[in-house]
Structures are given as structure tokens and as C-alpha cells.
Symmetry: C2
Subunit: 128 residues, 2 copies
DNA sequence: ATTACTGTATATATACCATATATACAGTTA
DNA sequence: TAACTGTATATATGGTATATATACAGTAAT
């Protein structure tokens, strides 16, 4: 499994691992039931500490995206396409709600907020 | 000045202070040149540590929203309506861009992202 | 001039997070 | 049996958030 980890950004390694594996699972790139690399294997490959991987996997387990079996490893949890889409939407909403609320409190109108989002999505169009 | 601080939420006190004062400034509720309560006064009123207020004010100063004068206090920086709006938009865009990028990586389409945002804004309509 | 306020600086402490190295136990597989 | 797996724990470093305390320098009121 390919993860792109860097210690040049502000984002903690744990967070990078969680974010990237979560995306692979929710985008359907990691199929249900698939096994993840062992914590020791991933730590070795990425030259990071085992406990860093362990904590990341625990977070994903807490989110219900993976589950562990002692002696066997971690596995991607069975989720329907619909469940995955619902999870992704729910997460986005939870993340955006307080930010949008703050923007409104800062004096931006709904129209202006929509405009910022449109520009942001348009910017991403060139990168996808 | 009225701030609503709580230690019941996950949000650190510093962050709450910064967020609430920033909103007041960007929304034009705190007028340019206005003085902020002294760090000791605000700490007393909110029953928190002086250094917590100091760190929050320093963050706002670093963002260019306020400036300090030794012996006199902290003051709201002069900003035009346009500059305030630009700042708010820029901040929102900086916050949203990585989150939208993550949502795309998780398999959500632009249409679905727009839908989540529309629902979120609609939800907020009832609270404003 | 003195007192009371202001911000700035520093020290120490606690709790938590992120990350690291190390060790050990229990379960699984080759 | 050896090599792998996850689980648990200890210790350490560095950073953040928050607290109490002290002291200095600047400002304003009495």
C-alpha cells in the first residue's frame, strides 16, 4: 500500500496516515475485507515508529472503518457503497458546519460563502 | 465586551477567545481603533489565566487584527470594509481547501460536496 | 510623587498530544 | 519453532494549553 508521508508539513504523521487510508477506504480503493499492512511493516516501510502507526490504525478502528484481529492483523470493515458515501458526507458536514458558522459570524453572507466554495472547487478542477 | 467562553467543549479557551474576537472585528462589531479589555481585566472577568488571554491577543496581533501599546493596552487595527471582507474570504478559503480536497479524495463528487454545503447553509438559515 | 493600571518577560508546574525507542505478552502462521 | 501478528506498558523528548507567580517598563489618575 502506497502512502505519501512527509514531515515537512504541519500535519502530524498520525493524521496523514489516517487521512490517506480513510480516503482509500471511502473511495473504494481498499476493498471491504482487505488486510492492511501490519503496524510493524508499515512502520518499517515509512521509517516511522510502530506506535505512530498503531495510534493511526486505532483512530480508523474507532471510526469503524477497520477492525483488528490479534495475531492476524487489521482489516477493512465491510461497508456498502451507500454507507461509504453517507460516512463521507457526514464527515464533511461535521467539519464544515463550525467553519461556515464562523464565516457567517465574521460577516460573510451565504452568497459570499458559496462564491468562495465555487472558486475553491473550480481551483481543484485543474488538479483532478 | 461579551465573550462566551466554556470549558465544556473541546475547543481550547485560547481558540475560543481568538475566534470570538476575530468575528467581532471582521463583522465590524468592534470598530477600528477601539480598545480591547486589558489582559488582566478579561482574565478577571472570565476567571481564566492572564497568560491565556495574552496568548490569544498575541495570535490576533499576529493576524494583524489588533496591535498593542505597552502601558496603554490592545487596540483594533484600522481596516477598511473591503479589507475585512477579503480577510474573511481568504481565511475561509484556506480552511476549506484541504477539507474539500479530502472529500474529493474520499470519493465525493463536486455535486455531492455542493449538496452538503447547501444543506449546511440551509440548516444555518434557521439559526440566523 | 505615588498608586494603580497597562503590556512584556520569565519561571515553574500540570496535563495532554505526537512521536520515539524498548520490552514483553498473547495469538497466528509458515 | 521461528517469525510474524496485535496489545500493553514504560520512558523520553518536544510542543501546546493553561495555570500561578514575579518582575520590569510604560501610562494614567490622584
Amino acid at each position: 500500500m502506497i502512502l505519501h508521508l512527509t514531515d515537512l508539513s504541519d500535519e502530524p504523521l498520525q493524521s496523514q496516515i489516517v487521512r490517506q487510508i480513510r480516503a482509500k477506504i471511502l473511495a473504494g480503493e481498499l476493498t471491504a475485507g482487505a488486510d492492511l499492512p501490519s503496524i510493524r511493516k508499515l512502520a518499517r516501510e515509512q521509517h516511522i515508529s510502530v506506535i505512530t502507526v498503531q495510534r493511526a490504525y486505532e483512530t480508523l478502528e474507532h471510526e469503524g472503518l477497520i477492525h483488528s484481529r490479534r495475531g492476524k492483523g487489521f482489516f477493512v470493515t465491510e461497508l456498502s457503497d451507500e454507507a461509504r458515501k453517507t460516512l463521507a458526507k457526514k464527515r464533511l458536514q461535521e467539519i464544515l458546519e463550525p467553519k461556515i458558522r464562523a464565516a457567517l459570524a465574521e460577516g460573510l453572507s451565504k452568497r459570499e460563502i458559496n462564491e468562495v466554495i465555487r472558486e475553491t472547487l473550480k481551483g481543484d478542477l485543474n488538479n483532478f
